[in-house]
Symmetry: C2
Subunit: 397 residues, 2 copies
C-alpha cells in the first residue's frame, strides 16, 4: 500500500464545491434542457479575448522571431518583455520600476505560490480579511504557513478593520488582499487601504520586523463606472503585486501573470531573489514564452468588460428590487447575496429547485451568503430573473 | 531585516555554473569576436520547431475555437487533448492507457515537482544513478525528500548496478532515471533496464512497500540510428513517465509536457489523485491551454533532429581521433569528454583559453568530465575543431 503525503492526497480527492455544482448543472441540463438551467457557479470569463490577443500571436509567428519565440527565456522572463511591462506600469500608475522588479509567472496562482514560498518561515502567519478566495489556504499551507482570517463586514464587504487589527501577532509575516474582490465584487476604497496599511505599519514597528502586503489583483482592470482600483505600492512600500491576465484578457487557460516587487521595498533585491528561488524550487522554469510577449504587448488592454457592467446593473437592480440583500459590486463578475435562511448551503439547495446554481459562500469564509458569478451572456441573466423571483417568493410563504 | 527561508534565498542567489559560462562567453565575444567563441555550455535546442507547430497554432486560432481555446481547461488537461495523447501513446508504444492516466504539466520540471510532491513523505529517499541533471536535487529537497546517488560507470555511462543496488534503503521511495541521458547522451539499454527494474522489484518486496520509477524523458525522441529508447512502463508497473515537448518540438519556452501514471501501477487512482493534488498545492492550475492542443496534435513529431545526429557524428569521430576519451552518445545533444587532468574545472578553464566553453560535469555528479552541449549549428562545430586540437595538444607538451 502506498504511503503518500496526506495533504496532496486530500487536495487531489477532496470534492470541489464549485466544480460539483457545475457537474450537477450538466446533469440537470440533460433533464430539463440547458436553456432552463442558470449556472452562476464558475468564474470563467464569458467574453472573448480582445482581438489584439490572437492578432499579436499571429504577428509574432509571422515576424522575424516566429521560430525563436518558443525558446527558453530567462527565469524571470525575457528582458524585453519585462522592459515593456515595466514601462507600461510606470506610465499607468506613476510607478518608478525597472525590468528587474518584475518576475513573469504562470498566472496569479503561481505568483502567489512563489511569494508564499519566498517569504514563509516555519510558524509564519498571513492575515486575510474575509471574504476571500480560499485557495489561498492551500498555497499558504503548502509553503508551511498559516492563515489567520479577519471577519467580514457584510454591510460593505470592506475589511472589518477592528477584526483585522486583532488578527495580528508577532508571527504575522504578511497580509493578503484581493481587490476587486472575489467573491464580493467589492473594490477596497482609498480610505480603507490607507487605514489598513497604517495598521500594518504600526504592527511592523511594534514587532520590529517587516510585514508584507501581498496584493492579488486578477480583477484590477474589471472595474465599473464610478469606481477605481488604487495602486497598492503607492500606499505601502513592502508590497508584492500578484497579477494575472486571466480575467482582463480572458486568457485563464494560458497561465500568464507576474509578481511585481515594489522598488521601494526594504531589501528589495533579496526579496526578488527569494521569489526567483521559489519559482526554481517549485519547477517554474519560465512563464510561457509566447504569452509573455502577448501580455507585455497587450498590458492594460481588456476584453469587452462592458458586458460585465451591464450584467452587474441588471442583476443588482433586479435582485434588490426582489428583496435580496447585496452590496453593489464595483468590479469583477461576482456578487454576494444574503441567504434568506441561516444555512446558506440549504439556501443554495433551494435555489437549485428553481434551476439557479449558486455557490454557498461558506467556502469563501463568508457563511450566510451565496456567490453569483455573473460572467454569463446578459440574455441568460434576463432569462433567470423569474427564477430568482420564485426563490425570493418561496421564503415569503 | 527580512527573515526569509534560506533554501529559496540560496536558490535565487547561488551562481549557476552553466549560466556563468554563458555570460563569460558574451564578454569573450566582445573581445575576440563572436565567430571565434565556441559556446557549448547550454542545452537550448538549436533547430527550429517543426513547421507543424506554428501551423497548428494558426489553424487553431483560425478555427471554430479560436477564442475559446484560451479558456480554463480541467486541472489535468482538456479531455479531448488527453484522449488524443493517450491514443498516440497506445499506438506508438503498445500501451493500454486512457485519458485518465495522463496529467498535462508545464514541462518536465513541473511534471517532476508534481511527482515528488505527490509521493514524498518525510525521510523518503530517491536513488539516482550518476551522472544526472542536478536540478533533481532542488525538486526533491523542495518536496522534503533526499537524493542518494549511485556511482557513474565511465566506461559506458550505463548505471553502475552494483553501486545502484547498494544505494537502496528502507527509506527508498523511488528511483529517478533519465534516458537518453543529460549529460552523457547515453541511452540505457534494454539489458540495463531489465536488471535495474529487477533490483527495484527485489527491494520493494524486501521492504514491503512500493518503489516508484520516475522516468524523466525529455530526450525520448532525440535518438540516433541504431539506438532505441525502451518504453519504461513495459518494464516496470510502478512507473511515472515525466515528459516534455521542450526538446522534441524545440519548444522549451512554452512549458508543456505531461505525467503518465502507468495504468498497471498499484493504487493507480490514488497516485494519480496525489499528482493532481500536488499540482494544485504548487499553484499549477492547468498546463497552458493552446500548447496542450498543439502538443496533443503534434505528439510523436520532432524538430529536424538529423542535425543533432550529424553534429554527434562529426564531434565524436573528431574528438576520439584527437585522443579525447568519450562514450558515443545514442541520443540527446550532449556528450561527456574525460578531463585531461584530474580537476575538470581546471580543464574547462584551460579550454576557455582556446575559446571553447565547456561545462565541468562536477555539477552533474560526474567529476573528471566535461559536458559538451552540441545543439549548435554544424558549421560552428567544424570551426571549433582546431581549438579542440590545440586543447588536446596543450596536454602533450
Amino acid at each position: 500500500m502506498a504511503n503518500l503525503p496526506s495533504d496532496v492526497l486530500a487536495l487531489g480527492t477532496r470534492r470541489n464545491v464549485m466544480r460539483e455544482i457545475f457537474e450537477y448543472g450538466k446533469l440537470l441540463a440533460q433533464k430539463v434542457g440547458a436553456e432552463n438551467v442558470f449556472d452562476y457557479s464558475l468564474g470563467n470569463p464569458s467574453v472573448a479575448p480582445p482581438a489584439s490577443v490572437n492578432q499579436t500571436i499571429r504577428d509574432v509567428l509571422d515576424g522575424a522571431e516566429g521560430d525563436s519565440i518558443h525558446a527558453y527565456t530567462s527565469a524571470q522572463g525575457d528582458l524585453p518583455n519585462r522592459e515593456l511591462l515595466s514601462a507600461s506600469l510606470n506610465r499607468r500608475f506613476g510607478e518608478n520600476s525597472t525590468a528587474d522588479d518584475l518576475y513573469f509567472t504562470m498566472g496569479a496562482a503561481a505568483a502567489l505560490t512563489c511569494c508564499f514560498h519566498a517569504l514563509t518561515c516555519p510558524g509564519d502567519e498571513y492575515v486575510i480579511p474575509a471574504p476571500y478566495f480560499t485557495e489561498y489556504q492551500v498555497f499558504i499551507a503548502g509553503a508551511g504557513g498559516k492563515v489567520v482570517e479577519s471577519k467580514p463586514d457584510p454591510k460593505t464587504f470592506q475589511p472589518d478593520l477592528v477584526s483585522f487589527e486583532a488578527a495580528f501577532s508577532p508571527q504575522t509575516k504578511g497580509v493578503v488582499i484581493n481587490s476587486p474582490n472575489n467573491p464580493s465584487g467589492v473594490v477596497y476604497s482609498k480610505e480603507t487601504l490607507a487605514q489598513l496599511t497604517d495598521i500594518m505599519r504600526q504592527k511592523a514597528a511594534e514587532y520590529g520586523h517587516p510585514i508584507y502586503l501581498i496584493s492579488d489583483e486578477p480583477y484590477r482592470e474589471i472595474v465599473f463606472d464610478g469606481f477605481s482600483v488604487p495602486w497598492l505600492p503607492a500606499f505601502y512600500d513592502n508590497t508584492l503585486v500578484c497579477y494575472s491576465y486571466s480575467k482582463s484578457l480572458s486568457l485563464p487557460g494560458e497561465r500568464i501573470g507576474y509578481v511585481f516587487v515594489s522598488p521601494k521595498m526594504e531589501d528589495n533585491r533579496l526579496i526578488y531573489a527569494a521569489v526567483c528561488g521559489a519559482g526554481r524550487k517549485l519547477g517554474y522554469v519560465n512563464a510561457p514564452a509566447l504569452f509573455q510577449r502577448v501580455a507585455a504587448l497587450c498590458d492594460g488592454q481588456t476584453a469587452d468588460i462592458a458586458v460585465y457592467q451591464e450584467n452587474r446593473n441588471l442583476l443588482y437592480s433586479s435582485l434588490t428590487q426582489m428583496g435580496f440583500t447585496c452590496v453593489e459590486p464595483g468590479g469583477t463578475f461576482y456578487l454576494l447575496i444574503k441567504s434568506m435562511e441561516a444555512d446558506s448551503v440549504a439556501f443554495c439547495e433551494r435555489a437549485r429547485e428553481f434551476c439557479l446554481l449558486l455557490a454557498p459562500a461558506d467556502s469563501f469564509s463568508c457563511p450566510g451568503y451565496a456567490r453569483i458569478a455573473f460572467c454569463v451572456p446578459t440574455e441568460r441573466i434576463r432569462a433567470s430573473l423569474p427564477a430568482f423571483q420564485k426563490l425570493a417568493d418561496s421564503y415569503q410563504s
